[in-house]
C-alpha cells in the first residue's frame, strides 16, 4: 500500500530534478509569482480606492409648520474617530441655521463669516436678510474660491417674511432651492427613511421623530456618522433645539434586545 505523502511534501524543489539547461541561480525560488508588469507596485495600485468625501450625515426638510434640521455629531479622520461631539448645526442668527458637512474648519469659518455679513446687511438696510439672500451671499463667496480646495456641503435653513426657506450650497458654488435635502456620506441612508416617511402636513413632533429616525439609520449603516442625533426646528419665531439623543441609546430604544427563547436549559439537580 502506497502511503499518502501529500501532507509531507515541502514547497522547495529537490536538487537533481531540474532541467540541466537551468542554471543554479534561477532554480532556488519556488514561490508562485503573479503575472504582472509592475511586480513591485501592483499591490499598491490594487489598494487605491476612491476616498470617501464628507463623512457625516445632515438633513433638512420643509413642512407645514416650518423647517426641520438634523445632524449627527461624529468627526472622522480616515478610519479614526476624532470626536463624537461636534456641533454640526451652526446658528448663523436667531432665525437661520446652517449645517456642516465637509471640512470642519471651512464650515465653521465661513458660516461665521456669513453671520457677520448678514448682520451688516441688517444694519445697512434696517431689515433682516432673507434666506434667499443669505444663501446667495454664501454661494458667491464659495464660487470665488472654487478650485482652491475648500470642502463645504451646507444647507441654509431659515424663516423670513416669505415663510420657510431651505437652500443647499456647496464648495463648487452650486446653490439649489428645495424642500428636502440630505448631505454627507450617510445621506443615501437618511434619504431612504426621509423620503419614505415624509408628508407635508406633519406636526412638529412627527417631523422631529422622522428626522431623528433618519439620522439614526444613517449612523447605523454609515461608519463615518455617529454620536448624537441633534434635531432643530425653525419656526416663525426663530430656531429652537428640540433634542440631542445619543444614537447608541436610540438603537436599543428602536430595537430593544429581546431575551432569546431558551430551547434546552441545564438545571442543577438537587438531591436525587
Amino acid at each position: 500500500m502506497k502511503l499518502d505523502t501529500t501532507g509531507m511534501e515541502s514547497a522547495a524543489p529537490v536538487w537533481g530534478s531540474h532541467n540541466e539547461l537551468v542554471d543554479e541561480f534561477s532554480a532556488a525560488p519556488s514561490f508562485e509569482l503573479p503575472n504582472t508588469t509592475d511586480f513591485d507596485g501592483f499591490q499598491k495600485e490594487a489598494i487605491q480606492m476612491v476616498k470617501p468625501a464628507k463623512g457625516t450625515t445632515t438633513l433638512a426638510f420643509i413642512f407645514k409648520e416650518g423647517v426641520m434640521v438634523a445632524a449627527d455629531s461624529r468627526a472622522s479622520m480616515g478610519g479614526y474617530i476624532s470626536s463624537q461631539s461636534v456641533k454640526k448645526i451652526i446658528e448663523i442668527n436667531p432665525y437661520m441655521l446652517g449645517t456642516m458637512a465637509g471640512g470642519a474648519a471651512d464650515c465653521q469659518f465661513w458660516h461665521r463669516n456669513l453671520g457677520t455679513k448678514c448682520r451688516l446687511h441688517e444694519l445697512a438696510n434696517k431689515r433682516r436678510i432673507s434666506v434667499t439672500g443669505a444663501s446667495k451671499l454664501f454661494a458667491n463667496i464659495l464660487y470665488s474660491y472654487r478650485g482652491i480646495g475648500l470642502s463645504v456641503g451646507t444647507m441654509i435653513a431659515g424663516w423670513d417674511e416669505t415663510g420657510p426657506g431651505l437652500y443647499y450650497v456647496d464648495n463648487e458654488g452650486g446653490r439649489l432651492k428645495g424642500m428636502r435635502f440630505s448631505v454627507g456620506s450617510g445621506s443615501p441612508y437618511a434619504y431612504g427613511v426621509l423620503d419614505n416617511g415624509y408628508r407635508y402636513d406633519m406636526s412638529v413632533e412627527e417631523a422631529a421623530e422622522l428626522a431623528r429616525r433618519a439620522i439614526y439609520h444613517a449612523t447605523f449603516r454609515d461608519g463615518a456618522s455617529g454620536g448624537v442625533a441633534s434635531v432643530y426646528y425653525v419656526g416663525p419665531n426663530g430656531w429652537k433645539k428640540l433634542s440631542g439623543d445619543d444614537v447608541g441609546e436610540l438603537h436599543y430604544r428602536y430595537y430593544p434586545v429581546m431575551p432569546s427563547t431558551v430551547e434546552q436549559e441545564m438545571v442543577e439537580v438537587t438531591g436525587a
Partner: protein
C-alpha cells in the same frame, strides 16, 4: 484607506490565570457602509485552540476553518489522525505562519490572532502580520483597524493572573472602548473565555454607530 481597512475589524486576545480570552467585533463593512452586524471572525480549531482573523474578510473566510476551502482545518485533521492528539498552540502558530509565507508575493490580506491552552494548561497567545511574522506575547495581542486604540486600552487595563470572570470584564471593556474610537469596527462584540474545563461564548451589547 488601505486594503486592510476595506472591511474593518478588531481583534484582541488576553492571558489570564490558566485561561485566556479572545474577542472580536461583529461588523462587516464595505469601506464606510455597514453590511452585516453578525460577522464571525473567530473560529475554533479544537476545544483549547482558537484562531481569529482580522483584515480583508474574503481572505479571513478562505483561511477560516469554517469555510469550504479548509486549508487549516484539513491540515489539523490530518495531524490529528497521524499523531492521535490535538495540535499544540505553538505548533499551530508555526503552521499558520508557513501557510501565510507560501503566499509571500501575493499574500492573504489578513492578520491572524491565535490563542490556546498548551501543556499543563498554560495559555499561549500570538499574532502575526500578513506574511507570517510571529509575535509572541505574555499578556495580550491585538489586530485590526482599531489596533492602536486596543494597544492603549489593553496596556492600561491589563493585570497579571486574572480569573476568568475578571478577564472577561477586562477584555470586553478594552474592546468596546477601542472600537468606539474607530469608524470601521464595532457594532457589538463576541468574546470567548476558555479555561481547561469549559469555553464560555458571550455576545456584547455595544454602540451601533
Amino acid at each position: 484607506m488601505s486594503i486592510f481597512e476595506y472591511n474593518g475589524s478588531a481583534l484582541v486576545a488576553m492571558v489570564g490565570k490558566n485561561c485566556f480570552a479572545i474577542a472580536s467585533d461583529r461588523r462587516l463593512g464595505v469601506q464606510l457602509q455597514t453590511i452585516a452586524t453578525d460577522f464571525q471572525r473567530i473560529s475554533k480549531i479544537h476545544d483549547r485552540l482558537f484562531l481569529g482573523l482580522s483584515g480583508l474578510a474574503t481572505d479571513a473566510q478562505t483561511l477560516q476553518p469554517l469555510s469550504a476551502y479548509q486549508r487549516l482545518v484539513f491540515r489539523h485533521k490530518l495531524y490529528q489522525l497521524r499523531e492521535e492528539r490535538d495540535m499544540k498552540p505553538e505548533t499551530f502558530a508555526n503552521l499558520v505562519s508557513a501557510i501565510l509565507y507560501e503566499k509571500r508575493f501575493g499574500p492573504y490580506f489578513c492578520q491572524p490572532v491565535i490563542a490556546g491552552l498548551g501543556d499543563e494548561d498554560k495559555p499561549f497567545i500570538c499574532t502575526m502580520d500578513s506574511i507570517g511574522a510571529k509575535e509572541l506575547a505574555k499578556d495580550f495581542v491585538v489586530a485590526g483597524t482599531a489596533s492602536e486604540s486596543l494597544y492603549g486600552a489593553c496596556e492600561s487595563m491589563f493585570k497579571e493572573n486574572m480569573e476568568p470572570e475578571e478577564l472577561f470584564e477586562t477584555v470586553s471593556q478594552a474592546l468596546l472602548a477601542s472600537v468606539d474610537g474607530d469608524c470601521l469596527s464595532g457594532w457589538g462584540g463576541h468574546v470567548y473565555v476558555v479555561t481547561p474545563t469549559e469555553v464560555k461564548e458571550r455576545i456584547l451589547k455595544g454602540r451601533m454607530d
